[in-house]
């Protein structure tokens, strides 16, 4: 599904990703762990096409298609979704309006029919209820004045509604209370399927108890320096990143 080879990327002329390679096959969930400043969020922005993240070498393909050549909205229409580490506020645009605009834009881009207003509302109500989000919150401007945890839940709601194929979750667990972590994890697990794949960036083993990864990677110094099964996360929790930072 996702294949990244020898990816190098710079921000403001400073190289952050330094030859990163990674493969996430369809149906799998991979976790990325790594020290602060290692380049985890940078990877998520490079994959989604944020301006200012300049790719200087390497490739990233989704089902064989060159992702890096596509505009951010085209990548989204192909099913790439990023749950932001720091979700942005969209003043003046109610969450519902934003979501319907996004859903219909993606459908148009894929040559599908637009969703009707009643269908959309029904879907939004169902998904909000599953994530225990008060429906009235969706009438407010997206993320404006939302608490940190509410913003993270909104990310998952958007994900559930857009039903993407390749999901990147950048520290979705940070800022969530214990109940929210469980609810959000259930939301993410509901999206696991043989056609989908996920990349989960996290600092904490706890999330991986809820969303069990197939593989765990260590990102340090702009590269994947170690990969293993779920046990790797436990080892990192015990021993930290010291030996990997030295390796990077």
């Amino acid at each position: 599904m996702l294949r990244i080879e020898n990816l190098r990327a710079s921000v403001d002329g400073k190289e952050i990703l330094k030859g990163l390679s990674l493969e996430v096959p369809a149906g799998e969930v991979h976790a990325i762990m790594g020290p602060n400043g290692a380049g985890k969020s940078t990877l998520s922005y490079v994959l989604t096409g944020r301006a200012g993240y300049e790719v200087t070498a390497g490739t990233a393909t989704l089902d064989g298609e060159d992702l890096l050549a596509l505009a951010p909205d085209e990548r989204a229409a192909r099913g790439v979704f990023l749950s932001f580490q720091y979700p942005l506020e969209i003043p003046g645009v109610p969450a519902l309006t934003f979501l319907r605009t996004a859903l219909n834009a993606q459908r148009r881009a894929r040559g599908e029919a637009e969703i009707t207003a009643p269908e959309f509302l029904k879907l939004a109500r169902a998904k909000a209820a599953a994530l225990k989000i008060d429906f009235d919150m969706l009438k407010r401007a997206l993320n404006v004045g939302f608490s940190g945890g509410e913003k993270k839940r909104m990310e998952i709601l958007q994900m559930a509604m857009l039903s993407p194929r390749f999901l990147i979750l950048d520290e979705t667990d940070s800022g969530l209370d214990i109940d929210a972590l469980r609810i959000v994890s259930e939301g993410v697990n509901a999206l696991r399927s043989p056609e989908r794949a996920m990349l989960m960036i996290t600092h904490y083993q706890r999330l991986l108890d809820y969303i069990k990864p197939d593989r765990v990677h260590v990102l340090a110094g702009g590269r994947i320096v170690a990969s293993g099964g779920p046990e790797l996360a436990h080892e990192l929790e015990r021993e930290g990143y010291e030996r990997y930072e030295a390796a990077a």
Binding site: T48, G49, R50, A51, A71, P72, D73, R75, A76, A77, F81, L82, F84, P87, L88, E89, I90, P91, G92, V93, T97, F98, L99, T101, A102, L103, A105, Q106, A109, A141, Q158, L162
Partner: protein, 340 residues
């Protein structure tokens, strides 16, 4: 210097110029070397006005003329007032509006031109105690037109006046509002929107004078300028000596969507009274690129994302329009203006 006299006498040397402090960003003398011929009477067919669907009654002033609107005490009225210029002449039009005690008026005003005309509209509005007026102004001026509107509003205590100017600009366009605010729990809202493209210019100038205690003024203007367009906002609120406990809040915020577009803003609060709550905010900037990326990550194409975010930016002013029908007409106008 009197603009009406300068137009009537075709005396270009008497037009306001950048040497007049209040007109420095809307220089007419530098623009118009010779005043156009007087506008001729027009007998042709007019296109529908922007508010035709809402008004029970409309008055059309084509190439000049006068109108009087009287709303008797304790009655309700909806009036449409169309200031229309046909051709490339010059003219002055005027309207006198009186609103009786506890009467309500929805005033729907439009400025429409189809060529290089020079037009002035002078309005006087007087509100008796308890009168409530909402004034919505929408412009549909030609890109070569020079169009000035000057409104003098006199409030009585306990009256309420709110207005929303919705401007699309012209070669030079100025919407000027002067309000005499008596305090005494009278309430004033002076809002504005400008959406400018091409080489269009639009100036929203207001001067509010608080002369008595306990007056309230709120003002919110938002503009979006593209291409080589130029927006001007001048807002002055004067709180005279003795006008204690005045509450005045002014905000002007503009988005500049191209390098060559320009916004000139001068918010001013002059306070000579005590115990006054006054605040003003003024920001001029570009669209938030991070928000734009966020929208695009969700699948919204760039142009649509820009339109969505700018519409939302201006929407804050649209939402403040009290009359629902007028609000929806303005909302549609804004949506159209941002997609052209």
């Amino acid at each position: 210097m009197n603009l009406a006299a300068a137009i009537r006498e075709r005396n270009a040397a008497e037009l306001p110029s950048k040497r007049d402090e209040d007109w420095r960003w809307t220089d007419l003398r530098g623009l118009i070397r010779t005043a156009p011929e007087p506008s001729q009477p027009f007998t042709g067919q007019l296109p529908p006005g922007p508010f035709d669907a809402l008004a029970e009654d409309w008055r059309v002033l084509i190439n000049g003329g006068e109108a009087t609107v009287d709303v008797p005490a304790r009655t309700e009225a909806v009036e449409a007032l169309r200031f229309v210029a046909r051709g490339a002449g010059s003219h002055v039009a005027s309207a006198t509006i009186r609103v009786g005690a506890n009467a309500r008026l929805l005033l729907l005003e439009s400025y429409e031109s189809d060529g290089a005309s020079l037009a002035l509209a002078s309005l006087t509005l007087a509100l008796e105690p308890g009168a409530v007026v909402e004034r919505i102004v929408l412009t549909a001026d030609h890109e070569d037109a020079v169009s000035v509107s000057q409104a003098e509003v006199t409030l009585s205590p306990t009256a309420g006046f709110s207005q929303t100017l919705v401007a699309g600009g012209a070669r030079r366009q100025r919407l000027e509002t002067r309000v005499l605010h008596p305090g005494g729990s009278a309430e004033l809202r002076l809002d504005g929107i400008y959406l400018l493209a091409g080489k269009r210019h639009s100036d929203q100038t207001s001067i509010v004078t608080h002369a008595g205690t306990d007056g309230l003024t709120v003002q919110l203007a938002k503009g979006v300028v593209r291409d080589q367009a130029r927006g001007v906002f001048q807002g002055r609120i004067v709180v005279e000596e003795g006008a204690d406990r005045t509450d005045a809040r002014m905000g002007h915020h503009a988005l500049i969507l191209s390098d060559r577009a320009e916004v000139d803003a001068k918010p001013e609060l002059e306070i000579y009274a005590d115990d006054v709550a006054c605040a003003h905010g003024n920001t001029v900037g570009a669209l938030d690129e991070d928000a734009l990326f966020y929208a695009r990550q969700r699948g919204i194409p760039e142009d649509e994302a820009r339109a969505l975010l700018t519409e939302a930016f201006v929407g804050e002013v649209v939402d403040r329009i009290g009359h629902e029908g007028a609000r929806e007409i303005v909302r549609a106008w804004v949506a159209q203006g941002l997609r052209d």
